[in-house]
Each structure stands twice: as structure tokens, then as C-alpha cells.
Symmetry: C2
């Protein structure tokens, strides 16, 4: 299988960051071709992992961060009472493991929600490379900043919002993220079970089921198994983020 130097194999083309469809979402965003080349040298493409397999477990030593290539990953922490809390769902192009940098151990576990392939980026190598390629270092910081904004949005989602609002918001969130990846914004397949989605939203499965049905009855969407069709994005957005039932009333001073 050895090839002369300088020859680009099909595998290299398929695996390279520079040809990756997700470049614009991931670490290589706005990097020079030279810097991307350096990055490719330290990135290791892992073979796909099966649904339910762990990419890493909570407590494991931190050695690398990972970028989802295909499939999807959920991250979860174990609460002291034994329950599991799902902290996030991660689609292709998103980077996971960043919460482990500060403690050298993964605070959360990462589990594949379907057959999933990832790019492994050894963190020591990344830090070393960052010293030669400042743009890469800056991009890492920018990705972490984006993650902070996302987490703040999650906290808002969970704070005094009804089940309907939470579900509407997360569906719109997935819609946007699928659209960013070139898929349909109005029709997509949720990779996780309703139990997992409810866990993330702080709702029990029974409430998830009833809430889905209510949104369907309102004509906002239709579901068939894990397939979701958004029928009225406008109304769904109003429900998720809107001013509520008293939209036209501006005489009240509000909660502020």
C-alpha cells in the first residue's frame, strides 16, 4: 500500500480538512491553506463508532478534543442521585470535549446516537501547533466563545418556559443547524429518542408526547416517528420566543 511521496491518495482527499464540507463550521474556519495543512497532520480520523457506544466516559483522562464528522453525539453527566442529565446534542462540524481542558478529565460522557465518525485532535499537539499558527489558536478561542453563547441559550430555554415553548425552541434550533449543513430546514429526522430530548429539556416522556401532540393539533408541525416536518415556522417561532398571549398589550410595564 505504500505510495511515492507527493502522491495524493483518495483517502487523503476524502479525509482532508481542506476538502471537508464542514470546514466553515469547524476548526479550519478562515484558516490559511498552509495552516490547514498543519492541522491535517495532527488530526486523526477514527473509525466509525456504533449507536450507543461511548466516545469517552465521564472521568476519563483528557487527551483530545473531537469534531463530529458524520452522525451525531450526545453528551451527558451523571447526577449524584444516579440519574443522567443530557447536556447537549452535537451534529457534524461541532467540536466536543472542550469542557475537559480545565481539569484534565472529561466531566461528561459522549455517546453516539447513531453510527458516527469523528476527527480526533490530540490537545497537546493542538496547543503546540497553536504556537506556530496563531490563527488556529484564535479559532479555538472563537469556537469556545460560541459554545458559551450556546450554553447561555440553553440556560434561558430551561428558565421559566413552558413545555410547548421549550419543544418549539429546540425544534427550531435543530432546523437552523440542519439548514446550516445544507439539509432541509422544514423536514428532518431527529437523531435522539423522545426520552433523551425530554431529559435535555427537563421534561418527562409523558409530557413530551402530549406536547408534541398539542403542537400537531395546532397545525405547527407534523411528526411520524423521529421524522419532523415544520409546517408553520412563523407561528412556531412566535410560540417559542414571542411575547406570549398578550402580544398587543404594551400598557403593562412587564416583569422588569
Amino acid at each position: 500500500m505504500s505510495l511515492p511521496r507527493g502522491v495524493t491518495t483518495l483517502k487523503e482527499v476524502r479525509d482532508s480538512c481542506r476538502n471537508c464540507r464542514l470546514r466553515s463550521l469547524c476548526l479550519p474556519e478562515s484558516l490559511s491553506t498552509a495552516d490547514i495543512g498543519k492541522l491535517e497532520e495532527i488530526v486523526h480520523r477514527r473509525k466509525p463508532i456504533a449507536r450507543g457506544d461511548y466516545l469517552f466516559q465521564a472521568g476519563h483522562p483528557f487527551t483530545a478534543i473531537y469534531a463530529v464528522r458524520t452522525g451525531s453525539i450526545k453528551t451527558s453527566t451523571l447526577l449524584s442521585n444516579g440519574d443522567e442529565h443530557i447536556s447537549g446534542f452535537h451534529l457534524p462540524g461541532e467540536v466536543i470535549g472542550l469542557d475537559a481542558i480545565t481539569s484534565d478529565r472529561h466531566p461528561s460522557a459522549a455517546i453516539a446516537m447513531e453510527t458516527t465518525s469523528v476527527c480526533e485532535i490530540p490537545f497537546n499537539s493542538l496547543e503546540a501547533l497553536g504556537e506556530q499558527a496563531p490563527a488556529l489558536q484564535h479559532q479555538l478561542v472563537r469556537i469556545m466563545s460560541r459554545e458559551l453563547v450556546t450554553e447561555q441559550g440553553t440556560a434561558q430555554l430551561l428558565t421559566r418556559r413552558s413545555a410547548e415553548q421549550r419543544l418549539a425552541a429546540i425544534l427550531l434550533n435543530f432546523s437552523d443547524r440542519f439548514a446550516n449543513r445544507g439539509l432541509s430546514a422544514s423536514r428532518f429526522r431527529l437523531p435522539m429518542s423522545r426520552l433523551d430530548l425530554g431529559n435535555y429539556l427537563g421534561l418527562v416522556p409523558e409530557t413530551m408526547s402530549r406536547t408534541f401532540r398539542r403542537l400537531e393539533e395546532q397545525g405547527l408541525l407534523s411528526i411520524a416517528g423521529k421524522e419532523v416536518s415544520i409546517l408553520d415556522k412563523c407561528a412556531l417561532t412566535e410560540l417559542a420566543y414571542g411575547t406570549g398571549p398578550d402580544a398587543s398589550d404594551t400598557t403593562r410595564s412587564g416583569r422588569a
Copy 2:
């Protein structure tokens, strides 16, 4: 006011990062003396701001991150329905503004909860300096990672936990943070109003009041205005993070 070069003024001693009591919590953590010296050159000590004043507002251009020196800061975002959501409370040594890096605009506002002084760290200068001092760059990444872990903890706090559990958890959180700053872990003054604390926890003021009273009646703590005394840290911890009322029962398989 001009002094010969090489003379260290009192102001410089008081303002220097190397002599700062909060060094171990802040950006200079584990940096060499030389690197701290470089950092000091770009840090700008702002004059104190009064209670209620904005350090920056949502939507403002992002130019710098800030480290709280004395006092305390709350960060908040405006929801589309006009309500305010408080995303965090920040004590001396903590860094704020990191969520703005990704978008060049502050997504949230920062407001002083009391007379507060901060160190302003222009971000362009910090990034430039990071290219010469890799340890500084790494420390920035580590601080952002720590922030991610904190945010995940907040999300957990807000997910399917009772008012008592939320209040117990945030009080223990403040207890730890005050202790890390050399203050008493069992007796401290909350810098924010109950309304703000409730806003952060997703609870209305009425519920805050009732929950405080219930914790007092259980003998876990005592309050007088904003002064909090933790009387039974052990029981409070059990309440906040424990296995709940059915602790000794292991026959049930739980929610998982």
C-alpha cells in the same frame, strides 16, 4: 507627577497583577513572572463604577474582556418579550465578556451590583500578546473551559429541580466561591436582590421568599436581609444534590 524610570510607584504595586490577591483565580494563574509583566502592560485598571451602572450593554462592540477586581457584576440578556434574563453573577477574580469573542458584539450586558472595579484587558492586545506568550494563550483557553463547566452546572441546576434544591445549590455555590476568596464559607452577604437571584434560578420573588423561609424553618440556614448564615452545610448539600427522600431504597431501578 513624572517619576524617574525604574522607580516603582505605590499605584503600580497596588495595581500589578503579580501582587494581586486574586492572581490564582484569574488570567495570571501559573504564568511566569516575565509573562505576568507583559500582561500588566496591556491591562487597564478602570475607575470604580457605581451600583446599577453598565460595564457594557448588549449589542455594544466587543473590544475587551474584564476581570472583576472588587465588588460584583451580574450579566443579563434581554428576551424578545422584554423580560430580562440574568445569566450569571461574577465575583472578584472572574473574567467576563468571553461570550462576545465569537460575534464581535456583546450578547449580554454587564451591570455592577455594588460599587465595583474591574481590570480591562483589550482583546486585540491579548491575542497579540498570546502569540509571544503561549502560556497566556493556554490560560485563556483554560478559563473558557472552566466557564463551560460552570454553564453546564447552571443548566443542570435549572433542569427538573425543586425551588428548595435550586436555592440550596446556589447558596452552596456562593459559599464555595467566597471561601476560595478567603472569606467565610458559612456567613456572607449576597450582593444581589432576591428578585435577581430568583430571575437567575427561574423562580418568582414570591417563591424565593417562601423557599428561604422553609429552609430557615428546617434549621438549615438563617437570613437577615442579604446576610446569609449556613447552619447545616451537610444537610443543605444533601438537599441540593442528594438522592432525595428515597435515599436508602436501592430496589427501584430509577429513572434510567
